[in-house]
């Protein structure tokens, strides 16, 4: 193909393209905010997997709830279920709200303010999750022990295996929480940076 032929075909295509304009205002602004949303997709993905696992365990406890036959065990069971039901739900809800902060629909000040409020709310939830997760780790022991081993830790002396489990679980929980919070904070900061650059 000679250069002149290429040039002629190209010019013809340009004319055709001119007639086929199809971008809308909405599509353009949606494209502009793609990168910002990508930052959150990874976190939301992890959270969703976590939520499925948590709800699976919660369902297991719920179906076997009648085996928790004393009041202390029932209270532990109820608190466990409440924490397992509420935390993933709000975590996902707040994260999705952060991700969906609309940079196309509001002015700079409004967007930054909304983002800051949502970020603050999510940070508060993250802190609360750390404490509640710690409580959960302790109160789930009597529940699991009763449901899977048939042992009531309130009636009989605690098993030696649990004494091994607790310190290991604390260390693991500390390291895991530190890493997860660090990763989430960094991603939210990056998204905030994009938001500031974009606006």
């Amino acid at each position: 193909m000679e250069f002149e032929d290429i040039q002629a075909t190209w010019a013809q295509m340009s004319d055709q393209l001119e007639k086929q304009k199809r971008l809308t205002n909405e599509i353009i602004m949606k494209m502009a905010q793609q990168d910002y949303k990508k930052r959150f997709d990874k976190i939301v993905g992890y959270e969703t997997i976590g939520a499925y696992i948590t709800y699976g365990v919660a369902a297991l406890i719920l179906f076997n709830f009648r085996d928790l036959d004393t009041w202390p065990l029932r209270i532990c069971g109820i608190v466990t279920l409440v924490i397992m039901a509420v935390l993933p739900f709000y975590s996902l809800k707040y994260l999705k709200e952060l991700r969906n902060t609309d940079i196309a629909d509001k002015n700079y000040k409004e967007t930054i303010t909304v983002f800051a409020q949502r970020k603050q709310r999510y940070n508060r939830l993250m802190k609360l999750s750390v404490y509640l997760g710690f409580i959960l780790m302790i109160i789930i022991i009597p529940v699991v022990s009763k449901l899977f081993d048939g042992d009531d830790v309130f009636a009989a002396p605690i098993k030696k295996s649990w004494l091994w489990f607790l310190p290991i679980a604390f260390v693991f929980y500390y390291l895991f929480t530190k890493r997860v919070v660090g990763c989430y904070t960094s991603n939210i900061q990056k998204a905030e940076q994009i938001l500031k650059e974009t606006m």
């Binding site: 193909m1 290429i6 340009s14 055709q16």
Partner: protein, 164 residues
């Protein structure tokens, strides 16, 4: 006119530039769409600093080409291969078969060039003069001239080889 409205109106006015660059620098619909989004995102990001010292089209070509080249560099680091037999000619619903075939050949010729030469070829086909091409690419005027004459020779030699 607000900043956002102004941006939207410019992108709409010059959307075919973005389309052409994405077609030259990608080989499938998904990549093309991703690059398209990346370019609009980068344009929006740099819109703040765009002071209209340069012509709008020059600014658009520069941002779009830089985005495309950066993306290719990243993809190369990730080890992705670009094949030229899957050229996507979107927006071709209204084209006749003969024209579509010619267009396919045009893209095949361009895809054989290296990344920078693809950009130079595109700008040349867009009717840019050497001065404008130099401004968009950052090359010197003489370098643009040399490269373009090499591109033309390269295209010609390929045609000759095929004819032989």
């Amino acid at each position: 006119m607000g900043k956002e409205e102004e941006f939207v109106s410019i992108v709409k006015q010059y959307e075919k530039i973005i389309f052409k660059i994405t077609t030259v620098y990608t080989d499938n619909g998904d990549d093309q769409q991703d690059l398209y989004q990346d370019i609009v995102y980068q344009l929006w990001k740099s819109f703040e600093t765009f002071r209209e010292e340069a012509k709008i089209s020059t600014w658009m070509y520069r941002v779009a080409m830089n985005t495309a080249l950066t993306r290719i560099r990243k993809k190369k680091r990730q080890g992705n291969q670009v094949s030229i037999d899957k050229i996507i000619l979107q927006q071709t619903e209204q084209y006749d078969m003969a024209f579509e075939e010619r267009l396919r050949q045009v893209y095949a010729s361009i895809h054989q060039l290296n990344e920078l030469d693809k950009g130079l070829m595109l700008l040349l086909l867009e009717g840019k003069n050497y001065g404008e091409i130099a401004e968009i690419t950052g090359l010197t005027l003489s370098n643009v001239g040399t490269r373009i004459s090499r591109i033309k020779q390269k295209l010609k030699s390929k045609v000759t080889k095929i004819e032989e």
